[in-house]
């Protein structure tokens, strides 16, 4: 018997699948003419993290976030540090059975204020993310997406209705980089960032700086310009340090001075909140008031020893600090 082929419209790949064939993400399969998710309620990683680990620095600081992931991803970044779960089929990971209502119940019982769909790529476990998010809102919890933003507009707009915050990985402003290193494309990611902002999702951006691949100062300058012009100067930006992983073990870790220089340059271009990630103690993790230049949130790694924000404003000068603080 012959079954119909299907086209998945979730992400820009729009995989066309015959019966029993699965999409590029590894977790969506055509079974007898229906597209089936293999990972609904089947996370392979579940943890309670500090929200700073996402990283989200302007969203409920110093709170705990219930974090989960399933196997699979719709990008194939050569530097992926979670490749053991993102670049593998879901039948090859050890999975829990954790339905959305159970996720929410455990998150509440553990004192978490939010749930993060993270580690691999929440887009590819879309239905699980969405259904859990709906229940989370009903229970008074917030929802956080940690994503590469490689998704089509229609599903993204629907997801934005239940998402409160997102850290979007903007890997480079080069489409060639996206194609060559990540098997993706740049434009859908830029579109996603604009859509999220338009839909009222609180956004922070992370850029992983990899030596020789995307550390060109001019490229980074253009990326900061794009953020400044399209999202505004208040959009928090995290420059993150690369550690040799997966298919890029031949490259060295990003020198700390490269990250610090990128931060200085981004702030000189006009971005208010720029951070360095994975180099604890550098001072690049503190939030600085754009007006009086005092440190309004002190951070050491994921530890937050001091918050000097009152009612969303700087405790020293009263300047509004962009973020979700309660």
């Amino acid at each position: 018997m012959s079954y119909p082929a299907v086209r998945c419209n979730l992400c820009p790949r729009e995989c066309e699948l015959s019966h029993l064939e699965r999409g590029d993400c590894r977790v969506r399969i055509n079974y007898q003419g229906k597209l089936i998710s293999l990972v609904y309620g089947k996370p392979c990683a579940v943890h309670i993290d500090p929200i700073e680990k996402k990283p989200l620095f302007h969203f409920l600081p110093a709170t705990r976030v219930f974090s989960l992931a399933t196997a699979g991803c719709n990008l194939h970044c050569k530097f992926c540090q979670n490749w053991e779960i993102s670049q593998i089929n879901p039948e090859d990971t050890s999975n829990l059975t954790l339905d959305p209502d159970k996720v929410v119940r455990i998150a509440r019982n553990k004192g978490c204020q939010s749930i993060a769909y993270t580690y691999s790529e929440p887009i590819i476990f879309y239905e699980y993310t969405y259904d859990t998010s709906v229940l989370a809102h009903q229970a008074g919890l917030r929802n956080v997406l940690v994503t590469a933003g490689f998704i089509n507009e229609k599903p993204l707009r629907r997801l934005c209705k239940v998402a409160d915050a997102a850290n979007v990985d903007l890997k480079s402003l080069s489409d060639e980089y996206y194609q060559r290193i990540c098997s993706g494309r740049l434009k859908p990611v830029l579109d996603s960032l604009k859509i999220m902002q338009e839909e009222g999702v609180f956004i922070e951006i992370t850029n992983l700086i990899i030596p020789t691949l995307n550390d060109d100062p001019d490229l980074m300058r253009r990326m900061c310009d794009w953020i400044l012009n399209q999202l505004g100067p208040e959009a928090p930006l995290h420059f993150s340090r690369f550690h040799p992983q997966y298919k890029l073990r031949n490259l060295p870790p990003t020198p700390a001075e490269v990250l610090l220089r990128a931060r200085d340059q981004a702030m000189a271009q006009g971005l208010y909140y720029v951070y360095t990630g994975n180099i604890p103690g550098s001072g690049g993790e503190n939030t600085i008031c754009p007006n009086c230049k005092n440190v309004v949130i002190e951070r050491i790694g994921y530890h937050v020893p001091g918050i000097h924000i009152k009612n969303g404003t700087c405790a020293f000068c009263g300047e509004k600090i962009h973020g979700v603080w309660s």
């Binding site: 012959s2 089936i36 680990k53």
Partner: protein, 69 residues
Amino acid sequence: MSKPDDSKGGLEISRRRFGLGLAAGLGGASIFAKLKNFVKPHTGVSFHEAEFYERIPPDKKISLIEDEK
């Protein structure tokens, strides 16, 4: 030792144990010990109809694997 952040895929899976990838790093304490009271870890997939897809008309040929007969 600094740990990567998870938007970069910073969850460092040190080993898979009892069905959970255990994260290293601050705040990454496994809650498996508690979770196992609620759920039973195992390898397996689910079978949940997805959203956002369409059927391709049979006259449109796609160059993928052959249907099972």
